[in-house]
Structures are given as C-alpha cells and as structure tokens.
Subunit: 198 residues, 2 copies
Amino acid sequence: MQTVARTPVPARTGRAVQVRRGDHVRVVDIAGGQVGDLFAYVASPSGVTTEHLSAAHTRTATSRLFPAIGEAFTTDLRRPILTLVKDTSPGRHDLLIAACDDARYADLGVPDHPSCARNLRDALSVRVDVVPQPVNVFMQVPVRADGTLDWLPAATAPGDSITFRAELDCVVMVSACPQDLTVINGARPTGLAIDVLR
Amino acid sequence: MQTVARTPVPARTGRAVQVRRGDHVRVVDIAGGQVGDLFAYVASPSGVTTEHLSAAHTRTATSRLFPAIGEAFTTDLRRPILTLVKDTSPGRHDLLIAACDDARYADLGVPDHPSCARNLRDALSVRVDVVPQPVNVFMQVPVRADGTLDWLPAATAPGDSITFRAELDCVVMVSACPQDLTVINGARPTGLAIDVLR
C-alpha cells in the first residue's frame, strides 16, 4: 500500500477524511506527546449516516478495554468499521474518557476554549446531537487494580503512529486535542497528521 | 425517607419512573442473580430531553470505572444526575458493556428476542436514535490487569439493592436484562423492582 494523501491536523483543530473499505488510515503524532480524539461514521452519498464507531459495542465485541492488533472497532449496529492493524507507538490508548467540550472547559474556568467536541461538529456535514465516546489515540489513562483511573502525559515519540483498516466506507475524523489545562498533552498541544493508504 | 411507590419490573421487560430532584431510586434484585440496565434522562414537561446519564462523562468526572458511594453519575452535559448513595449488593456493577439489542441477538442466532435496547425504546415517550451506554447494575464484568474483560453471573442475593439520589428531575428506566444466551443472569432472567423514596 502507498500513502495516497496526507492531511495535516494543525494543533488544537480537527480534520475529517473520507476512506473506502480496504483503505488504511494512519494517525501520526508529528512532534510526540499529543493525544488524538478519533471518531468514525459510516459514509452516505451526502456525507455521513448516524451509524458510528461505538466504544461500548467495541468493548462488548472484543471483551477488552481496547482492541488488540487485528481486532476491530464496531459500530452502534455492531458492524466492524475499523480494524487496528499496526501500532508503532508505546501502545497506550484510551477508550474510556469523553471528548473535551464546552462544559469541560467551563468547569476548568476557561469557558471559551477549543475542544475535541467543537472540532468534531466543525468537521462534519451533519448535526451531531450526541458526541460519541472517541478513540483517544496516544492518550495514557491507565486503570489501576482498584478501578481508579490515572491521567498521564502521552508517551509517544515524534513520528509514532497507529494504523487502522477501514471495514466500511466511512468518514474518519481526528481532533488534535486542545487540552492545555491538564497533563495529557504534555507541555503544550501540537499537531497530528492523517495518512490514507491504498 | 419512605418508599412512596414500588414499580415491579417483570422478567425480560423494562419500566420507567419519574423522579424529582432529591428523591431516592432503589433498584431491587427480587430473586437474586439478575442484571438491570439502568438509563436516566433529564425530564421535560412533555417527557424527557436528550440530556442523559453518560458513562464516558461519569468516568471522566470520577476518574473511576464505576462511581464510589457518594459520587455522582453525570450527564453528557457534565451535570450530576444520580448520586450513588447505598449498595447492599456485593458491589459488582458494570459501566463498560453496551445494552443488548437486535444486532446482539442476531449475532447469537436468535434474531427476534427481547432486549434492553427494545425495552428502553418501549418505555420512553421520545424516539431514541442512539441507545446510551447503560449503568449495568449487578452485572459482573471484572477487568483483568491485562485489560481483558471477564463475563460472570451476577453475584446478587435475593433482595439485594442499589440506591441513587436524583440530582435533577429525571426519568429513570430500568430493564430486567433478558439475556439468556450468556451466563450474566445465571440460569434464567428474573424480575427487578424500582422503589422511589421521598
């Protein structure tokens, strides 16, 4: 396969790419230490349908907190949509934490702040009432034995990437998380890139 | 507080109750070994709004896989909606697994089967496009150290219960999970009850 398109995702923003069944989608952490919130919707001729990658259905299908290499993320209709095929990062990703949004930043005392939820709404052609639980690539939120969660800076080095195979024609949206009030993106939010391989 | 109403939830069905801010809602496992899928929506004069209890936002707010006693479940707008106030069960509950639905039973070879998703849609007055991740009370899906999930029968004894305080006027819906093709409800699905205390 060859990279047929690279879509830069500037720091604090989001971008969406259309992919066909069989394409690979690679999310690259350009500078390292940056979380990406990834969403995927089944494509329709005019944009996207409401069928989307669902964290809860993925956990149910895989019996894991996060799919292993070779396993699929599934939609809310329980269809495989993206299969995890390659991971050159330290392998720490999250499927538990909600996308940052207006309410999150208001709670943190900064009411008007870019967010992964805003980035998703800006990138899609349809109205999104409910922001799905994202796939938080490179986000390091380990689960302790007592069920509590830790929040750590992303452990990625520059150029680390994670690659998925599309199992359906879909729109994949990635937000370079603009969170700069907690430690998850290290010292400051930076950019990502989305490569489509065919 | 006194129990002002008991709503039986017959095996394999669901029921919704309206509660006011400050009310307590108790889910009782009548025969033991039965999972309940609990959903909560903020009330409106004509029924419910789209704002609902969100597992992802709850995990984010509590930094736990499941809230501790005294902690709140929050909505997709990050407002506390239900606080966990009492638990007489062995304390094993799940906030990771999707509600069973038509696709789940089709995958299991039984395409026309009652489900928690159907029960939710039947119980609410509004159209539900996306079934939220439920609070799976009494459901025993432990997380192993390697991130894999186990599926075990509910460990509840007859009469065990879990109690929440409503932080907003809301509609609480409980489905007595009709799953009889896996072990989670033990030998057979049985009924629950919803008590409202005021």
